[in-house]
Structure formats: C-alpha cells, structure tokens
C-alpha cells in the first residue's frame, strides 16, 4: 500500500503539473488534498468497527488501489478536453474542485484501507499492530519511492509505470484471495493480471493519451523526465516547445529571442565569455553569436531540453557553444570560468526551486564569476501598461535584490520586463547602441522601438517600484510568494475563495471533533513532518543545488526515518509511555529550534567544501524517526478500539500533514523565512507537548 501510494503520488503530481500548471501553490494544493482526503478516508474507517461481519475481503484493497491510479490518470489527460476549452488554464476554483474529485477515489480508499488492514490484522495480543502497519507502509513508500525515483523516472513512462503497479497489486490481491478463499477477487485478479500483461505488449496507453494533451498539434517528441514533461509539437511549419504543458517558445519567435539577448549584450564593449542560463535552444544562441564571442556556456538543468534543441533546432550546433546539464547554482559553485555577460532566461520564480536563482545569495555567488564590466540580465512577466499591487511587490523585491548587489540596474519594458544590472553605468538608448554596433536585428532596433518611449516606460515602472518589496533571500524566499500572488490575481477571487473556505471548514470541524491532548500531538507531528520535509528539501537545494537523485534520497531517508521510528517506538511501549510521548514532542521542538543553526552551519561547510549530503540524510532520518516514534506512542495512548485508534491517529496525522504541506510552503516559509518557520514548528511541538504534560494524569 505504501509503495502504491508513493508511486501514484509521484505520477499524479507529474500529471497534474502537465494538465494544470507547475508552481508552489499547485504542488501544495495537490499534496495537501492528497493527504487531507486520505486522512478523511482513514477517519471514516472508524465505521468499520460497527460492522460485525467483514464488509469485503482484504484482497479487494490491493485490487482497487491498483486499478484506480490507472483509471484516474487516463481521465486526467482525457478530461482536460472535456472540461476546458483549447489552451485554457483551469481557474483556481475549478482546479481545487477538480483536483478534489480526481484524487477522491484513490486517496479516500487508501486512507480507508489503513484501519481496514488494522481490523483484518488485529488479534487481542497484537497490541502493537498500528505502529507496525504504519512502519510497513512507510517502508513500502521507501522501496516504491526509491525504485521509481531512481530508476523508473528516467526509463518508464507514466502509464506503463501505473500498469506495472496495477499488476503488482493484482499479484498481491491474488495471494490474499487465495489465503482468504475469496473467489470473486481471485478470479478478477487473475483476469486483470492476464489482461494487464497483454495490454503492456499490445496497447501503448502513453501514446494514446498524450494526444489528448495536444489535440490539434502533431506530437514529434514526448518525454517524462524527473524535471517535468518535455514535448515538441508541430503546427504547420512551426515547432512548439512545451515543458509541463506550458509553452516555452515556438520557432520563429524573434521578439523573445532578441529582447532576451540584446538589451544586455549590446551594453558590453567586447563580450567574450557569455553564460546563458536556460533556454538556449529557443534562438538565444543565434542572437548571441551576432557578437564576436569566444564561448557561450549554456547551462540547462534538464538534459531533455538540450536534446530537443539538438534534434529540432539548429541553435546548438556552433562549436563555440558548450552545454552543461546541471543546476545553475551548482555550476557557479564549481567556479570554472568568469563571464562578461550573464543572460538568465528562466521562468518567473513561482517555485522555491526557481526562486533560488533570484536571491541575494545567488547574485553574490554570481558576482564572484563576473569580469569588471560584466552585465547581468533577467526577465519577469510584462506589466504591459499597468503595474498591479502584486506586480509591484514581485518586481520590487527582485529590483531591490539586484540593487543590493549591483551599482546600476535598469528596466527595459518589452514583451517581458528585462532587468539589466551591472557595476558600470547602463546605456539606456538601446536602439542607438544597436545601430552604432551595426547589429542585424529584426525587432530590437529603432524601427520597432523608441528610446524615448522605452525610457518613459522604464521610469514609470521604476518609480512605482521604489520602496516596494523586500530583498529576496535563500532562507527568506519572499519573491516566490509574491509571484504566486500575481498568478492568483488573474482568477476571480469571489469564486475561488469558496471551495477553499468550505474545505478548510470541513477539515477544521473534523479535526476539532477528534482532537484530544494525545491526538493534538500527532496532528502537530503530521504538520511538522510535512513542514520539515519542505524545509529540508528547500535548504538542500539552496545550499547544494537541485539534483534530482539527491532529493529522492532525502525523501527516502525521511520515509525510512518514519518507518524505523514507528518500529522503534513499538518496541518501547512499556513503562511510562506518556512520559516518552511528551519527551518525543519536546525533542522534536528542540531539533526544530536547532535546525536553523545547523543550516547556517551548513552554509559555512559549503564554503569549506565539506560535503553536506551525510548531514542532510542523518538530520532528515532523525527528525522523521522522532515523528515515527510519536505515532507509535500516540497509537498506544489514545483511547478506543484498535480500529478507532488507527483511524484517528492515521487520519489526524495525515490532516496535519495536509495543512503543513500547503501552509508552510505557500505562506510560512516565504513570509517568515526559514528561521522563524522552524521556530514556529518548535513552538507548536512544545505547546502540544505541554498540553500532553498538563493532562498526563487524566
């Protein structure tokens, strides 16, 4: 069940990002809904204790859990065309409602399955059944997650993976049905096993369903990668490049290519070494090569993007272009070269991962690799003719961050707003500069742009950004929060507030119904689990870089910690368990308070070239281990039958995790910073521990 859940979660998240959009809020909503619905399913599992007879054979569980992901994923791709007009994004309210409906079948069943399994496995002597099942589930997640993340993410497409998962569950159902002597599940499992095996050979569901995502274009390349889905389509003679369903660019997009390059490149008297971060295959290299450069170092995290650049464009063939498939922060830390111009062609900072490339610390690291007259350029969505509150906050933050590191920053308002920064004065009469240099441009020239109009618009924007926004920092990533606010502002707020409010009320009502001095600890523990996982993943990316395999290892360490903690806790269910429970909460509080110090120490270690990986793995394992032991203690201390206890503890743990997943990543970390986020978590655990202490005699 654990393996099925984690693999399904990873695949679903990728599919959701493909169909909806990839930003921190969307990810937070999906994960949060996942855990909340699973928690509600678990709490509903209490009803099982009222049934004197078995409601269904145990073998139905893996059967249902195996099939549901496949069916859901199919409809997720297909339903986009039913529910939306071509090319449309979901409204936020629609997205929340549809996510809920799509996740409901699998997540509710998975949640319900936990107390169901407890009921099936319970014997009067097996008083440690709950923590053991929890531990096994976590171990299943470890194995499933590791296998998928490290192997399947590169080689096995989504539907094939889900088919394997379904077959795996069918085998489990078959054995269980044999043991239970349940005929219907047995034959059904056998039928599905044979049918599934044949379909793997005969039917390519990935190929069939991907057409639903691009119904009117011809797909010539489609690849699920650890960094997202990459697709290339053709429409007439034009090629279109998509990442997670969002258009990166189309061929013949001269305006974007020229603006991304010339506002910055033209500033430098003789650029020789250029660092291009992302998007080189979209025509930018061709524009850069109009200058007498010696080398272009093109850094692209996702190797699939450079692959499609080589396959479908002529833009990566020049010998002066050196391609590096690596995280940009990690690349900078290797300090291989210094640069005259740095062009950052990144998406806007809507995720914590991308935000790392817009921070004060990033620009400080970048400056170490800049030649004296170097120019740096980045872009943000255009404000066109007006700057909303959200746009001011976001752009103000980035502008302030740049100004902290460079003496001069100028905004060129084009199809995007380009911020060009340098320690030397910036020439604002860009069309004059282009003409003086005799550069053959089709758009960035005096015919299409007016220096006077650009200057006026630039002044308009800059005046409105003064005193706006806070400096964007690694451990205070305010910019991605502001970016999310800008994204949200396009939706009708009178509509999207309602589903959120309704769902929040349901969660609150359910939580308060089951909250006791014991379950409060597990609720806070679940919240802390999600929150700390986000803190650790973000910190690792900030301090080390975005490396997919390493992040998978950290997630695996977290799950493993939960499993071992739960098993270890099950062994310590003797003596004063209440005291141990209280102490575990205080221990978690203490470690949460300590974590910022440890992370700051990590920064120092980076400077001293000490590897951070063991520290992160050990810290993650210990934190998760404490949470796992809390689960064991809470399951022992809470009142009621094993089914009731399993339902309550598992359910509240998940609901706490759900809230942690969204509140921490979307609000707490960017608004308060990592330091205060950890302090808050520490306080919450201290409070829940204190509540348990006060009521210990009760």
């Amino acid at each position: 069940m654990g393996a099925t859940a984690i693999v399904t979660q990873i695949v679903f998240l990728r599919e959701f990002l493909n169909v909806f959009q990839g930003n921190e809020l969307v990810i937070g909503i999906v994960l949060s809904l996942w855990m909340a619905i699973t928690g509600l399913g678990a709490l509903t599992g209490r009803l099982l204790e009222k049934g004197g007879q078995k409601i269904a054979p145990l073998s139905t569980i893996p059967l249902v859990l195996g099939l549901l992901p496949l069916v859901t994923a199919f409809y997720l791709r297909y339903a986009r065309n039913l529910l939306l007009e071509p090319g449309m994004i979901f409204d936020l309210a629609q997205f929340i409602v549809f996510s809920f409906l799509f996740l409901l079948p699998f997540c509710f069943t998975a949640g319900f399955a936990f107390p169901f399994l407890v009921r099936a496995a319970f014997t009067p002597r097996a008083n440690k059944i709950i923590p053991r099942l929890y531990a096994w589930e976590a171990l299943g997640s470890v194995l499933g997650g590791s296998a998928f993340s490290i192997l399947a993410a590169y080689f096995i497409p989504a539907f094939k993976m889900l088919t394997f998962l379904a077959l795996f569950n069918c085998v489990a159902a078959l054995f269980l049905a044999l043991k239970e002597k349940a005929c219907i599940p047995f034959f059904f499992s056998l039928f599905l096993l044979i049918g599934g095996g044949l379909s793997l050979k005969a039917l390519n569901l990935d190929l069939l369903t991907r057409a639903y995502l691009f119904p009117h274009e011809r797909i010539i390349y489609f690849q699920d990668t650890p960094y997202g889905n990459v697709t290339v389509t053709t429409l007439g003679a034009q090629k279109n490049f998509y990442e997670n369903g969002l258009l990166l660019s189309s061929s013949e997009d001269i305006i974007t290519a020229e603006e991304s390059v010339h506002y910055a490149m033209a500033q430098h008297p003789a650029p020789r070494y250029v660092l291009l971060i992302s998007g080189g295959f979209l025509g930018l290299t061709a524009e850069i090569l109009k200058y007498p450069v010696k080398e272009i170092h093109y850094v692209e995290l996702n190797p699939a993007l450079t692959e499609i650049g080589r396959l479908y464009t002529p833009h990566l063939s020049d010998p002066r272009i050196r391609i590096v498939n690596m995280d940009a922060r990690l690349f900078l830390r290797q300090k291989r070269h210094t640069y005259d111009v740095v062009l950052m062609n990144l998406p806007e900072p809507q995720t914590a991962q991308v935000n790392r490339l817009y921070t004060d610390e990033f620009f400080q690291e970048l400056k170490c690799l800049l030649e004296p007259k170097a120019i740096v350029s980045l872009s943000l969505p255009s404000s066109a003719d007006y700057l909303s509150y959200e746009a001011r906050e976001l752009k103000g933050s980035i502008l302030k961050t740049l100004k902290k590191n460079f003496h001069h920053v100028h905004i060129f308002p084009g199809e995007k707003d380009f911020m060009v920064a340098s320690d030397t004065p910036i020439e604002t009469n860009i069309t004059t500069l282009i003409e003086e240099k005799g550069l053959p441009t089709r758009y960035v020239n005096k015919y299409y742009l007016s220096d006077e109009v650009l200057a006026r618009r630039s002044k308009f924007i800059t005046e409105r950004l003064e005193k706006r926004g806070a400096v964007n920092k690694d451990f205070f990533p305010i910019a991605y929060h502001r970016s999310l606010l800008l994204w949200i502002s396009q939706f009708d707020r009178s509509i999207w507030a309602w589903p959120i409010a309704a769902f929040a009320l349901i969660i609150m009502a359910v939580t308060l119904r089951y909250l006791t001095p014991i379950t409060a600890g597990i609720f806070v523990g679940g919240f802390s689990a999600s929150a700390l996982e986000v803190v650790l993943l973000l910190s690792f990316q900030v301090l080390y870089g975005f490396v997919y395999q390493m992040l998978s290892i950290i997630i695996t360490a977290f799950m493993a910690g939960l499993a071992f903690g739960a098993l270890g806790g099950a062994r310590w269910l003797s003596g004063n368990v209440m005291k141990k429970y209280i102490l575990s909460q205080y221990a978690l509080a203490f470690l949460s308070f300590l974590l910022p110090l440890l992370l700051l120490g990590g920064k120092v270690a980076i400077g001293a070239h000490i590897s951070l990986t063991p520290f992160f793995i050990v810290t993650t394992f210990i934190l998760a281990g404490i949470i796992g032991t809390e689960f064991s203690f809470a399951s022992h201390l809470s009142a009621g039958t094993p089914i009731r206890r399993a339902a309550q503890i598992y359910g509240l743990d998940l609901i706490g995790s759900a809230l942690g997943a969204i509140i921490v990543s979307v609000f707490i970390i960017p608004l308060w910073g990592l330091l205060w986020s950890c302090t808050t978590l520490g306080c919450l655990n201290a409070i829940s521990g204190t509540i348990a202490f006060l009521y210990r005699k009760g």
């Binding site: 409204d91 660019s249 006026r456 308060w672 919450l684 201290a686």
Partner: protein, 384 residues
C-alpha cells in the same frame, strides 16, 4: 497576593506562545483579505458622474450602453465593473481616474492609415464588458477602478498634456473605452476644440445609440473583430458577433475612420474558411478599403497552453483576404515581414514602406498613389 499555580503559569505561557506563533498568520490573513475583498465606494466621489444611457426598472437600473443590458441592483455594478447603482441612479466610477497613461506611436494601436508616424496620448481606466481569455491587459480590464492604482486626470488635463507633449491624437485604449464612455466622450469634446484627433481601440461591443453619440466626437476607431463565429465569440470573449458587425456599419456610416484587427488564435480563430467568410462579409458590406490587421497570437492570461500562431497561417489568411477583394491587409507581431508595407490596390506597387512604427518611404501624394494616381484610403494629414 494571589499566587498562580505551576499549571496556570504553563497554561498562560502556552497561550502566549500560541499567539506569537499565530501572529504572522495575521499577515497571511491580511493578504487574503486584500485578495478577497475590494474597498467599496461610499456613493459618488470626484471620479464619478451620473452615467448616460440607462433606465429604471422594477428590478433595478438597466444600463443601456452595451448589449449585455445589465440590470444593476443597489450598490452593485454591471459586468464592466465601472458602472454602479447608487440610490436609484447609475453612476460611472471611471471618470478622470485612469490607471494607465502613456504616449505611444499610433501604429501601435494599430492605425496604419491614420496620421502615420504621429504620437498618440493614450489613456485607460479599469474595467471592460468582455471576458477575453487572452486579454493582454487583464490587470486593468478585469478589475474595477476601485481595485487599481489610479491617477487624477480630468478631461481638461488629458487634453493639456496631449498638447504639451505634441501628440496629434488622444487614444482611448488598453482596456475598453466604451465602458468609460462618459470620460471618453467629455475628453474627446474638449480635444476637438483644441484640434486634437480622438481615436479609440475597442471591442465594438456597444449599443447603437451610445455609439452614434460617440461617433460625433471621435475621428478614428480600431475595432477588434475577434472571429466570424458567434459560438466561438461567446466562449473566447463573452460577447456576441452581431453587435460588433453592427458597430462596424454604424462607424462607417458616421464617417469615422475605421481599421479592423483580427487576432488569429490557434485552435480558436485560425479556421481559414471562417476567415474567408469574414472577408466576404467585409467586402459585401463596403469595407474593402478598411485596413484589416491580422495579428499573431502569443500565450496570454488564461490561454497559455497554446502555441504562437504559425506565420504560414497568417500569410494564408492575408492571401485569402486580398483574393476576396480587401485592399489593405497587414500582418502584426511579425517583425520585418513585407506585409507591414502598404501596396497600391491598383498597380500593386509598394507605396508606404513601413518598418515597425517608422515610415521608410512614402509614395502617397495628396491621398493618391504616386505611381498610378489611385486614391489611397486613409487620413494621412491633420485637416484644419
């Protein structure tokens, strides 16, 4: 002195720590409040005027300005978000408070046959009566003036600034000028007195009576003819085709210089048969000499899962339009394309060489082709 017990002390401490932990939630809540609600005007203010074109009904006030014909209840607004019912009267809350004020080349609107190479003083208030999925200016069009940062710019100031900046025209643009109708109308009247031209960039979704009123004070209009399919029109923009076609006829009848823009959106408005029908309708209704601008779509607002319009599609659309009998057909957002130039409908020679907003060569003399003498439609100079 009353002592407190150890338990009470810890209780109060826990409560205090909870408050400290929750206090940043107030920051989040204040953000949510900001997102969740707008300040509501307490009746008319200095940026309100009693609206034109409305009638009182039993259910509320019916606005008569556009085909939506919104029935607005007390303290409510119409679809455009800038007309409000206050104590039984309809007020515009978009008067003298633009949120966007810029100076642009007139070709940007686009106007290619109206005062080429001149500057246009461009203004807009928030609000729009359409809901276009690909709106470029959604940050002002899909909000009320109560939500936006506005500038105090009464009509007289607009005209004064236009004069001091040597602008040949005032453009009412960016959002939807027919929704800030009264502001447009009053400003245009003053501008006329000062010999400044008035141009609008509009969706054309307006009723005939207000349109005829407005036509008396404006000199040129660029109307977005989004599609020639009513069903798609409704899905793409929340409006209907027929009123827009009527607007085109009325403007032509009233002698307002007219140019038309058609944005070709992949999977929505790129059907070449539909484009052909549109061009035939334009020809049959006397619009052969009205410049038609096919512009290239870029992903925007709620339509971001689409590619750019292929240039080949745009070229085919232009070919269909010319073959149908439309004389002046341009391609926008395709820098450097020969379809930016103006060609004589008779001798087919290039009479205006245009690159972006710059006229490189002009072979139109006294409104005629210098090569063959064919009259070229347009307003190429300011008449006194």
């Amino acid at each position: 002195m009353e002592k407190i017990t150890k338990r009470e002390f810890i209780k109060y401490l826990a409560a205090g720590l909870s408050s400290a932990c929750l206090s940043p939630c107030l920051d989040a809540l204040s953000l949510i409040a900001r997102l969740g609600g707008n300040a509501r005007a307490e009746g008319p203010n200095r940026w309100s005027r009693e609206a034109m074109f409305y009638e009182k009904t039993e259910r509320g006030i019916r606005c008569l300005k556009c085909p939506h014909s919104c029935v607005i209840k007390e303290n409510g607004t119409g679809i455009c978000r800038n007309r409000m019912n206050y104590r039984g009267k309809l007020y515009t809350i978009a008067y003298g408070n633009p949120c966007a004020v810029h100076i642009d080349p007139i070709e940007k609107k686009p106007f290619f046959h109206f005062l080429p190479a001149s500057r246009s003083f461009s203004i807009a208030t928030a609000g729009c009566n359409l809901r276009c999925l690909n709106c470029q200016n959604w940050q002002i069009s899909q909000f009320s003036p109560l939500d936006t940062y506005n500038i105090d710019f009464p009509p007289s100031r607009v005209v004064a600034e236009s004069l001091s900046n040597n602008c040949a025209s005032i453009a009412y643009t960016y959002s939807e000028p027919t929704t800030f109708f009264e502001y447009t109308y009053d400003t245009a009247r003053i501008a006329r007195e000062k010999k400044i031209k008035n141009v609008i960039k509009s969706s054309g979704y307006i009723n005939e009576i207000p349109l005829r009123y407005l036509s008396k004070v404006i000199d040129a209009a660029n109307i977005d003819l989004k599609c020639f399919d009513d069903g798609i029109y409704q899905k793409l923009s929340g409006a209907r085709l027929e009123p827009v076609l009527n607007t085109l006829k009325v403007l032509k009848e009233e002698g307002v210089w007219l140019e038309i823009t058609n944005l070709i959106v992949p999977e929505w408005t790129d059907n070449l048969n539909t484009i052909k029908k549109m061009c035939e309708w334009l020809r049959n209704n006397g619009f052969s000499n009205v410049p038609l601008h096919f512009t290239r779509f870029t992903p925007m607002y709620k339509l971001t899962h689409l590619p750019l319009t292929p240039i080949s599609t745009m070229e085919k659309a232009r070919e269909i339009a010319i073959n149908t009998g439309l004389n002046y057909v341009y391609l926008g957002n395709v820098p450097g394309h020969p379809a930016e130039n103006t060609y004589c409908p008779q001798c087919k020679k290039m009479i205006i060489e245009r690159k972006g907003f710059t006229i490189l060569a002009n072979h139109v003399s006294k409104g005629k082709c210098r090569f063959c003498g064919y009259p070229i439609a347009g307003v190429f100079a300011i008449s006194t």
